[in-house]
Amino acid sequence: MSSWLLQLGFADWLAYGSAGLIKAGLVLVLVLFTPMLALWMERKIAGRIQDRLGPTRTGGRFGWLQSPADGIKLLMKEDLMPAAADPLLFRLAPYLSFCAVFCLFVVLPMADGWAPAGWDSALFFFLAVAGLEVFGVILAGYASGSKWSLFGAMREAAQVVSYEVPLGLCVVVPVVVAGSMDLEEIARMQEGWFTRWFIFHDPFTFLTFWIYAACAMAGLNRAPFDLPEAESELVAGFATEYSGFRWAVFFMAEYAAMFAWSGLGAILFFGGWNGPVPVASWLGLVSTNGPLAGFLGNLLSLLNFLLKALLGVTVMIWARWTLPRLRIDQVIAMCWKYCVPLATLMLVGVVFWQAISMEIFSPKPTGSCTVRCSSNPPRLSQGAWPEETPSAFPLPTRSGLASQRGLVR
């Protein structure tokens, strides 16, 4: 899109700035829309699990307008701030959380090439930014001036920082298989039938997925790991003193993060936007058949991706309404005693699996470069600096314009 704007003769800063803003707007729509959907799903699914109906009337049928109605109700609520609260941090905290979650979506590819910012270290960026969400929660807990909030914040800090370790180890396993940290690249490598999905790649990736799922739920503070906001213990944890819009922002951040982590799981283990059956390529909906076919194929891919991510969200909702809550010592013990060693084992296992399979099967170019190169260093092609100055950061250079990727190619 930015290249298109540049061709129209915009100044580069204006072109890139406006393209960035438009993309940010699209991401914002996504970040606002997915919590609404997830919330409605949670209400309906929880209702069914509990032998009741959930919302039925708002918006005519199925209560499909329930989430916006809730949002409007929250907006109209009185905005309370305790006298003991720290006014600045109290106000700031929800937006900090929300911003971090917003940034998660920036690198999430929804279809081939449809990532707001494709990047070869997208996965690393995702992990780094995911760690920032906790800061909003900590500030909220501290700034509320309530002991329950402080408890919630401390639990959150301990839990999230702990679970970042096994999560990081888990996501490295598909990276080892793919040999790339680029989420688009990882997803592209799983094209074809569902047997190409990384979860079916080898026993280690299969087991890793389950560790990933548990750790992601713990990192997201979803039940049964929802200790920072355990309502029967800490009233509402860090969110005790929040009401109205600011509470809604926290809430949206939580649900959007659920979606983002489900999406990451779909990309890493379930083929990303690739369906279980390569229908799109049968129908010829690939970009080699022209831009329209590529666009339609991408639409199909987008649908695929959203369905997978929502399936992950559904599983989280299902777990929440089925399981009791763990205790904080059990949660932390689970992290350090089970998840971290298991994830490490999986990592070592998958490295050996790759090495052995490389020996047995003919080395593929997309295989693990780590293994190949340790015995035979890569061909060291010398880039031409300073004649050609490729940029590390997907910030534009004129020379790299043609390959700029955007939400729309």
């Binding site: 002991k147 309502e231 029967s232 205790r327 904080i328 059990q330």
Partner: protein, 398 residues
């Protein structure tokens, strides 16, 4: 040089803080206030503060005739109002040396046990809620609604029934009621199985409750803990069998088990799952499990009561007159309410208004053991322990 050296060193966390849990807290089951002194997540001491629901029931009892006081007993343990009515009525009948007809006795057993099921359902459901599982709560309340519907058909009220009164009951059953009741019992076991799957056998549930809040039998007796709390500590003590004759004769024809672990195992009832290895007699898991099993036994009793009631002849008794004079004597009677042993003491003074009414509240005694149970547990264990005691603050505060 700083002299203000604090001699204690704590494990990892630093400063002890005093937190108020309640009276507005989601898991204190009403208006209980707990003052926690915590060191990080570890609770050093718990101090219950009660009285937020004190409604001067005993003072009111000194100003009303015993017949007029009956509806006030509904308000004690409002989740088991039938059992409250029953305890009061039996105590009055003991003071007046009355006997109610056999049919009335069976009807009372029927109601009391149905209400015990309802009360235990609330206990079990809210216990799941305390541990963060919302779904069993909805299942329990769905079943409780059916019981409450039955009660409403009998007496018109859904919470404070005022049905069992001194001298008898307020009225006979409406036609078709027993059939409805049997239908409820027939479909009920499925819910219990769901609850066992969601709670009793759930790994997380066991980890949260087994070995937590262990109440040794000696401590339980010394604190006057009764009911499921006492039985879960390993003593098969149930006033329905071990009480005073005026009470035990009601239950004499019935066949049921006293649910208490013997050497960590329970008598087989063919329906309940086995005890997990982690569970220690007297812990939260056993207190929960005893209630689950008592529901099964109560279902058995209700089935028998339907039978006995249909076979019995005669009337269902006559409610006593409002201005009935009481002798100059005192009578104390305890009955087995769902929460524990509920006692009423009436001191008559030769008039229709008693000199003194005293209520022994089972929840009051069960709550008093809380500081003992919570010492050194985690903050998250406090709701688990409080919930396992199954308190109703209306009964604690009276």
């Amino acid at each position: 040089m700083v002299d203000s050296v604090v001699p204690e060193e704590f494990d990892l966390l630093t400063e002890e803080i005093v937190i108020n849990m309640g009276p507005q807290h989601p898991s204190t089951h009403g208006v209980l206030r707990l003052i926690l002194r915590t060191d990080g997540e570890v609770v050093r001491e718990v101090q219950p503060e009660i009285g937020y629901l004190h409604r001067c029931a005993e003072k009111i009892g000194e100003n009303l005739t015993v017949r007029q006081f009956t509806p006030y007993t509904d308000r004690l343990d409002y989740l088991a109002a039938m059992n409250m009515n029953l305890g009061w009525s039996l105590c009055v009948e003991k003071l007046l040396s009355w006997q109610v007809p056999e049919k009335c006795r069976h009807l009372r057993v029927l109601m009391a046990e149905l209400n015990r099921i309802a009360s235990h359902l609330v206990a079990v459901g809210t216990y799941g809620l305390d541990l963060g599982n919302f779904t069993p709560y909805m299942y329990c309340f769905r079943e409780r609604e059916k019981i409450v519907n039955l009660f409403e058909a009998v007496c018109g009220a859904r919470l404070t029934y005022h049905y069992i009164v001194p001298g008898g009951v307020m009225g006979d059953l409406p036609p078709g009621w027993l059939r409805e009741c049997s239908r409820f019992l027939d479909q009920f076991q499925a819910t219990l199985n769901d609850l066992h799957a969601l709670l009793t056998n759930n790994y997380i549930f066991i980890r949260r409750t087994a070995g937590v809040g262990v109440l040794p039998l000696g401590t339980a007796i010394s604190y006057g803990c009764t009911g499921p709390v006492l039985r879960a500590s390993g003593l098969a003590w149930d006033l329905r069998r071990h009480g005073e004759p005026i009470y035990t004769q009601m239950y004499a024809p019935y066949d049921f088990q006293i649910v208490a672990p013997q050497d960590g195992q329970y008598p087989d009832d063919g329906l309940s799952p086995p005890v997990p290895d982690d569970a220690v007699v007297g812990d939260c898991w056993h207190r929960f499990y005893v209630r689950m099993r008592e529901i099964v036994q109560s279902v058995r009793i209700v089935r028998q009561a339907i039978q006995w009631y249909q076979e019995a002849d005669g009337s269902v008794g006559e409610p006593m007159k409002i201005q009935q004079k009481l002798p100059v004597a005192e009578a104390y009677l305890e009955t087995e309410a769902p929460k524990g042993q509920l006692g009423f003491l009436i001191v008559g003074q030769g008039a229709s208004i008693p000199r003194r009414v005293r209520i022994r509240s089972s929840s009051f005694c069960n709550l008093s053991v809380l500081p003992e149970l919570c010492r050194g547990c985690l903050v998250a264990d406090v709701p688990a322990i409080v919930g396992s005691l199954d308190l109703v603050l209306g009964e604690v505060d009276r």
